[in-house]
């Protein structure tokens, strides 16, 4: 019982969060292996962007300014002349709505930082950098600059790979052939094991999985399943904790 209380305190306490260059470096270091997989997918994006008619500079601009893989792939799927600008922007918004939940969850980390530190860090929020950051938090690490370092490593990999893929063409067509489609699942699975809080995690996780699978099945090609699954699981967690 006391162990659970201490653990809760640890998760909530944001007063001890620091923001140093060492944190940036730690973020870079912990993200290198993930950045490698991101690089491969960046190559694929570059190839597709070339087929859609984007110039290397345009690919770079998109990857650097948007920096959100799934939404960029979705946008390229809609990239025909004349350019359906509003449809592409709306699709981007919908695909990236899951960031809202991630940003809310990151508050224990970022809440104790200065505004400019938090809002510049959040530019680098992606599925991978966010998951790695929350993994650090679950381990009791408290350097708020970790997200920037993690995001920077992914940013360099993603933007450079896009340009390389656009320039070199179709060297990497099918990452799945090498099992690389599993790389991100593996990363998320690994980080998930560090977030297990014992029996009380079980029901929220089962509900999240069930709702996500059902939503993915009901709405193929969208990302709503992440939001719906996460919300359903967390609601169950919030109500079940009463004891």
């Amino acid at each position: 019982m006391s162990e659970k209380i201490i653990e809760d305190k640890l998760t909530e306490d944001s007063s001890s969060v620091t923001f140093t260059f060492a944190g940036v470096l730690e973020g870079v270091r912990q993200t290198l292996s993930v950045a490698l997989s991101v690089f491969i997918y960046g190559l694929v994006l570059g190839v597709l962007a070339g087929q859609a008619g984007l110039s290397p500079l345009e690919v770079f601009l998109m990857s650097a300014l948007v920096f959100a893989g799934s939404s960029q792939f979705a946008a390229l799927g809609l990239w025909v002349a004349p350019l359906p600008i509003l449809t592409i922007i709306l699709t981007t918004l919908v695909v990236n709505l899951r960031h809202l939940l991630m940003g809310a969850a990151v508050r224990p980390w970022m809440g104790g930082l200065k505004s400019w530190q938090a809002y510049s860090s959040l530019f680098f929020l992606s599925d991978e950098s966010w998951a790695l950051t929350m993994g650090q938090f679950a381990k009791g690490k408290r350097n708020g600059a970790f997200l920037i370092g993690s995001g920077l490593a992914l940013f360099v990999a993603w933007t450079s790979a896009g340009v390389v893929g656009r320039t070199l063409g179709s060297a990497v067509q099918d990452p799945a052939k090498w099992g690389l489609d599993f790389a991100f699942t593996a990363v998320f699975l690994f980080l998930l094991t560090g977030m297990w809080k014992g029996k009380r995690s079980l029901l929220p996780w089962i509900v999240a999985a069930a709702v996500a699978v059902a939503a993915a099945y009901a709405m193929p090609g969208t990302k709503w399943y992440i939001i719906l699954g996460a919300l359903a699981g967390s609601v169950v967690g919030a109500w079940g904790d009463d004891g």
Partner: protein, 103 residues
């Protein structure tokens, strides 16, 4: 090295709405007073987001993905090393697909 104006406009719009999604959730929960129950729910969010991200992936991946998932979790749990766990998972998927010929 050219940038078409319409392309630039599209990219700029994509960038703006994406940044809005990145800061919006944080901005909101940082601004309003949350009830204790919402606070508790937020604590579950990291885990449930991750579960929701991967569950459909694992569900539709069949036996290959299921086996690789078990191997990844066990390796990660034993070694506490992300790179090793990832390599074991990806390597097993490659092995099962390319060598064994599973789907």
């Amino acid at each position: 090295m050219t940038v078409n104006f319409e392309v630039f406009l599209t990219i700029l719009g994509m960038a703006l709405v994406t940044y809005a999604t990145r800061i919006g959730g944080f901005w909101l929960v940082n601004r309003i007073k949350l009830s204790a129950r919402v606070e508790r729910g937020l604590q579950y969010l990291p885990g449930t987001v991750l579960v929701s991200l991967i569950a459909p992936e694992i569900g539709k991946g069949g036996l290959t993905t299921a086996l690789a998932s078990v191997a990844t979790v066990l390796t990660g749990w034993r070694t506490k090393n992300l790179l090793v766990a990832m390599l074991v998972g990806v390597g097993l998927v490659y092995f099962l697909r390319s060598i064994v010929g599973m789907g």
